[in-house]
C-alpha cells in the first residue's frame, strides 16, 4: 500500500501520481463533510505512526469547530529516531502520497495551512517535496481552491536545522515559530493552543500518507488489514537495520510475526551469527531479548506483551557479536547530546548515566554503579516535560535487567575495557 511505488521514479510527478490513482481520494474528501472524514478515519482504526500510536481520527476530533480562529496542520517529517528511516522513503518516492494525505487532513480539521517540518539533514527528500509542492500548486491541487473545490489548502515546507528534540510535537511548534526547540508543558494541548497559539494537529508522515488509502478503499477494508487484533489495523512500514542480511524498509500487515520479518524477509543474521537482541521501536523503547522476539507479533499490543513497544517501528537488530554495554552507552550518549537541557532530570541524568557507562566500559566501574544507574533512571522516568529522558532510561533499565552479566563482566574485570578513559 504505502510502499507500492517505492523505487518507481514515475510516481514522483503529479501526472505520474494521478496515473497511479492519485488525488482521487482528495477529490472524494473535498465532496464530503469534514466530520464524515473524521468518522471514516476513526472507524479505520488508524493510529499515529510516529511512535505514540494515538488514534488519528480521535486526535482530529479534538479540533474545535466554528471557533473562527485559524487552524493549523503540522506534518512531522523530522524523522530522527535512531533506527527509523521510513518517512524519508515516503517523501523520496511518493511525495504526492504525502501531500494528498496532508490536504485531506487539513480539510478535515478546518486548517487552511499545513506546515511540513522536514529535518535539516534530509536534503534529497526536501528537494523532492519542493518539486512536488510546486507541481501540486501549478496543477491546482493545492492553493486558493484545491481541486476547484473552493477550499483553500496551503502547504509550506519548513526545514529543521539539526535537533532530535524537534520531533517532539510541542518542540516542533516552537521551532516553526522561530524559537529554540524546547518542548512545552501540556496542557494546553495542541488542539486548544498549538502552533502560534492556535488549534493545531500534528501527525507523522506515514500516518498522513495512509489517509488517502483509507478514503479510497474504505475504513472496513483498512480495518481488515490486521492479523492479530482489532486495535492494531492497517499496514506498518518497518525499518530494519543493524545485523541482518537485508536491512531496509518492509511494509507488513499489522500482527505479522517478528520472526517472519527478521528471518524470512530480512534473511536473518550474517552466516554463523545468532540473534542476541532487538530494539523494536526506534531507540527509545526497551531492549528485547532473542527469546522475546521469537514469538512477538508486530503490532502495538503484541510488542508490549513481549516487554517493549512498537514505537516508530525502527528495528535495531543485534547479533551475538554485539557488546550490549557499549551499545547502551552509545545510546545514552545520543540522548545526552540531544537533551534540550530545560529539565534537570534530563540534562543531568542523560549526561551522568553516560559518564557512568563510560567508566564501566573503561574498566573503572564500581559495583554500586548498577544501582546508581537504576536509581538515576527512575528519576529520569515520568518526571520531565517530554519523554526524552524516559527514552534514555529505557535501554539502560532493560539492558541491566536482561543482560546483567555483560555489565558484571566489565565490573569484575573479566572483560577487557572497551574504552580508554579520557
Amino acid at each position: 500500500m504505502l510502499s507500492r511505488h517505492f523505487g518507481d521514479a514515475g510516481a514522483r510527478t503529479f501526472d505520474g501520481w494521478v496515473q497511479r490513482g492519485g488525488y482521487a481520494a482528495l477529490r472524494k474528501a473535498l465532496a464530503m463533510k469534514p466530520e464524515a472524514i473524521i468518522e471514516e478515519v476513526k472507524a479505520s482504526g488508524l493510529r499515529g505512526r510516529g511512535g505514540a500510536g494515538f488514534p488519528t481520527g480521535l486526535k482530529w476530533s479534538f479540533m474545535p469547530r466554528g471557533d473562527g480562529k485559524p487552524h493549523y496542520l503540522v506534518c512531522n517529517a523530522d524523522e530522527s529516531e535512531p533506527g527509523t528511516f521510513k518517512d524519508r522513503e515516503i517523501m523520496r518516492w511518493t511525495p504526492h502520497q504525502l501531500l494528498e494525505g496532508c490536504a485531506i487532513a487539513a480539510y478535515a480539521i478546518g486548517a487552511e495551512r499545513c506546515y511540513i517540518y522536514i529535518r535539516g539533514e534530509f536534503t534529497e527528500p526536501l528537494r523532492v517535496m519542493q518539486a512536488a509542492v510546486a507541481e501540486a500548486y501549478a496543477q491546482g491541487a493545492l492553493g486558493a481552491s484545491a481541486l476547484g473545490s473552493g477550499t483553500r489548502i496551503d502547504v509550506v515546507l519548513h526545514r529543521g536545522a539539526g535537533a532530535y528534540i524537534c520531533g517532539e510535537e510541542t518542540a516542533m511548534m516552537n521551532s516553526i515559530e522561530g524559537r529554540r526547540g524546547n518542548p512545552r508543558i501540556k496542557p494546553p494541548f495542541p488542539a486548544q493552543a498549538g502552533l502560534f497559539a492556535m488549534p493545531t494537529t500534528i501527525n507523522n508522515v506515514e500516518t498522513l500518507a495512509s489517509v488517502p488509502h483509507i478514503l479510497n478503499r474504505g475504513a472496513d477494508w483498512y480495518k481488515g488489514l490486521s492479523l492479530s487484533n482489532p486495535k492494531s489495523t492497517g499496514t506498518k512500514l518497518i525499518s530494519v537495520c543493524g545485523h541482518v542480511q537485508r536491512p531496509g524498509n518492509y511494509e507488513v500487515t499489522m500482527g505479522t510475526p517478528m520472526k517472519e520479518l527478521l528471518f524470512d524477509m530480512c534473511g536473518g543474521m550474517k552466516p554463523g551469527r545468532t540473534l542476541k537482541a532487538v530494539i523494536p521501536g526506534g531507540s527509545s523503547v526497551p531492549i528485547m531479548t532473542a527469546a522475546e522476539a521469537d514469538d512477538c507479533l508486530l503490532d502495538y499490543e503484541g510488542v508490549v506483551a513481549r516487554g517493549s513497544m512498537l514505537g516508530s517501528a525502527g528495528m535495531i537488530v543485534m547479533d551475538d557479536s554485539t557488546d550490549l554495554v557499549y551499545q547502551i552507552w552509545r545510546l545514552a550518549r545520543f540522548y545526552a547530546h540531544e537533551s534540550c537541557a530545560q529539565c534537570t532530570q534530563c540534562r543531568e541524568g542523560t549526561a551522568w548515566t553516560t559518564k557512568i557507562l563510560e567508566r564501566i566500559l573503561a574498566g573503572r566501574g564500581k559495583a554500586s554503579d548498577i544501582d546508581l544507574l537504576l536509581s538515576l533512571s527512575e528519576s529520569m522516568t515520568g518526571k520531565t516535560i517530554c519523554v526524552l529522558s524516559d527514552s534514555c532510561a529505557a535501554p539502560i533499565v532493560s539492558g541491566i535487567q536482561k543482560f546483567r552479566s555483560e555489565f558484571d563482566a566489565y565490573l569484575s574485570g573479566a572483560r577487557q575495557p572497551a574504552l580508554a578513559m579520557a
Binding site: 524519508r88 534530509f122 539539526g162 529554540r180 545485523h243 536491512p247 540531544e338
Partner: protein, 170 residues
C-alpha cells in the same frame, strides 16, 4: 567563503539581505503569521550565502525580523547544523549513532579523518578543504554508514570507498 578557520574576521559585515536574497526572504513572509517564524529559513539563507553565521550576520537577521541579536544567537546555538564559525569548503558529517556503530561507522570516521587530513573531529584541514564531524542519526540506518558532504547524502560508505568519494570534492 569569508574568514579563516576558527577565527573571526575584522572586515566589516556586508549585508546578506539585499537584492535577490532580500526578495526571497520577503516572499516567505506571507507563509507565516509572524516574522519571527522566518528565523530558521533566514538563518539558512545566511549560511548558504556565507558558509557560516557570524555575530554581525545574527545582528542583521535580528534587525530584519524585528528580534534582538541575543535572541537570534540563542536560537542559532540550539541547532547543530548552523555553523557559528567558518568550516572547510566541504563539510563532512558522519553518522555514528548505534545502528551505524553496529555496522562499522567508527572505521568510516577514522578513514575520513585520515583521508581528509583533518586528524581530529571538528578541525579543518590545513588547506581549508575539509571539516569532519560526527552527527547523531542521519535517518538512513538501513544504509549504513551514511555521510553528508555539504548537501550531498551518501549511503553505504565503507573505509574502502572513502578515498574515491573524497576525490570528488576538490
Amino acid at each position: 567563503m569569508s574568514g579563516t578557520p576558527h577565527g573571526h574576521t575584522d572586515t566589516p559585515h556586508a549585508p546578506v539581505f539585499t537584492g535577490n536574497i532580500r526578495t526571497r526572504l520577503d516572499a516567505l513572509f506571507p507563509s507565516y503569521p509572524t516574522r519571527q517564524a522566518c528565523l530558521l529559513p533566514a538563518l539558512w539563507m545566511v549560511q548558504e550565502e556565507r558558509g557560516w553565521i557570524s555575530e554581525p550576520a545574527m545582528a542583521e537577521v535580528a534587525e530584519v525580523l524585528g528580534l534582538t541579536p541575543a535572541y537570534v544567537k540563542g536560537v542559532v546555538t540550539f541547532y547543530t547544523m548552523y555553523h557559528t564559525h567558518p568550516v572547510g569548503r566541504h563539510f563532512i558529517q558522519v553518522c555514528t549513532t548505534s545502528p551505524c556503530n553496529l555496522c562499522g561507522a567508527e572505521a568510516v570516521l577514522k578513514a575520513l579523518l585520515r583521508g581528509t587530513g583533518c586528524g581530529e573531529l571538528g578541525a579543518t584541514s590545513a588547506d581549508g578543504r575539509f571539516t569532519v564531524t560526527e552527527v547523531e542519526c542521519l535517518g538512513a540506518c538501513g544504509f549504513a554508514t551514511p555521510i553528508m558532504i555539504n548537501d550531498d547524502f551518501i549511503e553505504g560508505v565503507t573505509p574502502e570507498r572513502v578515498p574515491g568519494i573524497l576525490q570528488g570534492y576538490k
